[in-house]
């Protein structure tokens, strides 16, 4: 009998890649979190100390919750903003919709860092927005709105800006694959456009919406670049703490590993719940 190597041949490379660059690094991080590996010389072995300290630290857990809340808000706002755009592009019969789609994702052609830094120019005390407020007489030059930059608001604003185009894509795909005859049927049966949207379009596009929500939530809950650039102290998030534990602060890789793994576990659980109950697989 001839051995069929097609499947293992096709899966071998991606699985090997995943094992080498995902599973093994996570195993190493886990080893640090249990003190199996340690930066500090001297005897060490399996210990749950770092996990125990983390789970009993109100500071870290509070910071985690702060990041989750911020990320949930950002994800919700991004989806709410991206949906109408995707809806228009998918359901309009304009021939230019792919050109418009290209325009939507045009910001991706520039550096992420550059886009974030540009917001500093806009939000600063002497930035575009504050200068405008002074010009129209809403604020005096000595009292600009200082909360615009180096704040939680700035982090949310920039994250929303960065993610909207990205999130519009899965929603667009979901809406474009919608069977238009269903909408026609709904109208024939007397449904208004609003009712047709709420009872046909929205439920059918929900897998795309959920996928889009996860696309934002998963990376933003561990985000550290944007908060470190525009967040100031009030925009300091869980991801920043992980970076500090590994690098900027005095190295504490045990605690840093615990924080990183905890984030991974929560995100995995969150994704699992969504996938199980909302059947994200339908998106495909």
């Amino acid at each position: 009998m001839r051995l069929d190597l097609t499947t293992p041949g096709l899966l071998g490379l991606p699985l090997g890649w995943l094992a080498a660059f995902f599973v093994v690094p996570i195993a190493i991080v886990a080893a640090y979190s249990f003190d199996v590996y340690s930066l500090n010389p001297g005897p060490h072995g399996f210990a749950l100390t770092a996990w125990h300290d983390f789970l009993h630290s109100s500071v870290y857990l509070r910071l985690f919750w702060k990041s989750v809340k911020l990320s949930l808000i950002v994800s919700a706002v991004v989806v709410a903003l991206a949906y109408p755009v995707a809806y228009y592009l998918a359901l309009s019969s304009t021939k230019r919709k792919y050109v418009l789609l290209l325009l939507l994702i045009a910001p991706f052609l520039t550096s992420y860092l550059l886009r974030v830094l540009a917001w500093k120019v806009i939000l600063g005390n002497e930035g575009v927005l504050n200068s405008f407020f002074v010009w129209v007489g809403l604020r005096s030059p000595d009292h600009p709105i200082s909360q615009l930059l180096y704040s939680r608001f700035a982090v949310m604003l920039v994250l929303v800006y960065v993610w909207v185009p990205f999130v519009a894509l899965p929603i667009f795909v979901s809406l474009e694959s919608l069977d238009r005859r269903l909408l026609e049927a709904a109208c024939d049966l007397g449904a208004s456009r609003r009712v047709a949207f709420l009872r046909v379009t929205l439920p059918l596009s929900l897998p795309g919406v959920i996928a889009a929500f996860l696309f934002v939530f998963i990376p933003t809950v561990g985000e550290f670049v944007t908060p470190s650039l525009v967040g100031g102290t009030s925009g300091y998030l869980y991801g920043n703490q992980i970076v500090d534990l590994f690098q900027t602060g005095f190295p504490d890789w045990e605690t840093g590993s615990v924080l990183a793994l905890f984030l991974l576990l929560v995100v995995a659980a969150f994704t699992g719940v969504f996938a199980r109950f909302l059947q994200v697989r339908q998106v495909a």
Partner: protein, 370 residues
């Protein structure tokens, strides 16, 4: 045990001489003592590849080229290659993560930590021609157990920079960093230990570098309660925020004062009555470096009076070479560059080792996370 870095300490045996003579076609012997020295140098300097330097931003090929121009001229095939560090803890993390620089430049408070960490090896001062011109106090600060682990380079202060047209301090104190009136306009420096030390100075604790548990708790509470708008780890970010008017009061270094003066801002570099913290950059040689001779040559270039003057003129920091003098008499006065003990009391409190560094760092992390 012979030390790796102790190159000139090696005695040239008769065998060595013969080998060297053979290696150089007898040129060394024929040319006399100088020729032998050159041959020896060439022999020991058989080090290849680019010198790996872990340094602070602004001191590599991103603006600091004048500091090591003499080295590049002498060793054009071994030009330095830089990796940048944001602070000593960052450098430590990078080294732990597998980076293998030949040398790096932490500050004096870390000399003991690194000397006892097993990560570094002592220098051989005889290989550094300019060593004799370096400030004796700073040289001593680079020693541990009688060995020269740190070669002093730049020096300066941690103090407070503020906009004199916007800020009216209640007193000349570190308390300005905790002033609620300007909370939205204040920036602190992100360092694992220094903020707690400054809080300790503000409270006038006996030894802010070695606070008791109760003192640490009090310092941490102060920092949590007064956390400002910005905590900077990138000097460039802080300078940009200060220059744009987002920040009026900053924990800053002399270079920042110099930069803001250059931008024509009305600024004061305040020396708190509790005393500023002074520091000296210390070049350290990594254990296992495969280019120790090149590292010595690099540090020698940095240590020259010419490099020192350039540093003072362009960055506004002091330099450990006592012959270096800036062009500006203002800077000379401001930093007391002609005072060999400018970094010590009564002028400033010299940074030193923190015995419970990990605990300080953990408390500081909690401040940021709070």
């Amino acid at each position: 045990m012979e030390h790796e870095g102790d190159l000139l300490e090696r005695k040239l045996s008769r065998d060595d001489l013969l080998k060297l003579a053979a290696a150089t076609g007898g040129a060394g012997l024929l040319a006399g003592r100088t020729g032998i020295a050159d041959a020896a140098r060439a022999h020991f300097a058989a080090e290849s590849g680019r010198l790996q330097v872990l340094d602070w931003a602004g001191y590599g090929n991103d603006g600091g080229q004048s500091m090591f121009a003499a080295y590049v001229k002498k060793y054009p095939k071994n030009k330095p290659q830089f990796t940048y560090m944001t602070n000593e803890a960052d450098a430590l993390a990078k080294i732990h993560a597998g980076l293998k620089p030949d040398l790096f430049r932490p500050y004096a408070g870390w000399v003991k930590y690194f000397a006892t960490s097993g990560l570094v090896q002592p220098w051989t001062p005889k290989l550094i021609k300019n060593f004799k011109h370096l400030n004796p106090f700073m040289i001593k600060a680079g020693q541990y157990n009688g060995k020269q682990y740190g070669i002093p380079a730049d020096w300066g202060f941690d103090a407070i920079l503020y906009r004199s047209d916007k800020v009216k301090p209640k007193s000349r104190s570190w308390g300005l960093l905790f002033d609620d009136r300007y909370r939205d306009r204040i920036a602190w420096y992100d360092d694992p230990v220094l903020p707690l030390i400054v809080a300790g100075l503000y409270y006038r604790f006996k030894d802010p570098w070695n606070q008791t548990d109760a003192q640490l708790k009090k310092s941490q509470k102060l920092l949590m309660a007064k956390k400002p708008r910005m905590i900077w780890s990138s000097e460039t970010d802080m300078d940009a925020a200060f220059a744009s008017g987002d920040i009026w009061i900053a924990w800053a270094w002399p270079a920042d004062y110099w930069t803001m003066k250059g931008k024509k801002l009305k600024v004061v570099y305040m020396r708190p009555k509790e005393k500023p913290i002074s520091w000296v950059g210390m070049f350290m040689l990594l254990k296992g470096s495969s280019r120790p001779t090149l590292a010595h040559a690099y540090v020698d270039a940095w240590s020259s009076a010419k490099s020192g003057k350039w540093l003072e003129d362009n960055y506004g920091y002091g330099h450990s070479n006592t012959l270096a003098r800036p062009s500006s008499s203002d800077l000379l006065r401001a930093l007391q560059l002609d005072n060999p003990r400018a970094v010590t009391l009564p002028n400033a409190i010299f940074d030193r080792d923190v015995p419970r560094r990990a605990l300080y760092a953990k408390l500081w992390d909690e401040v940021k996370a709070s």
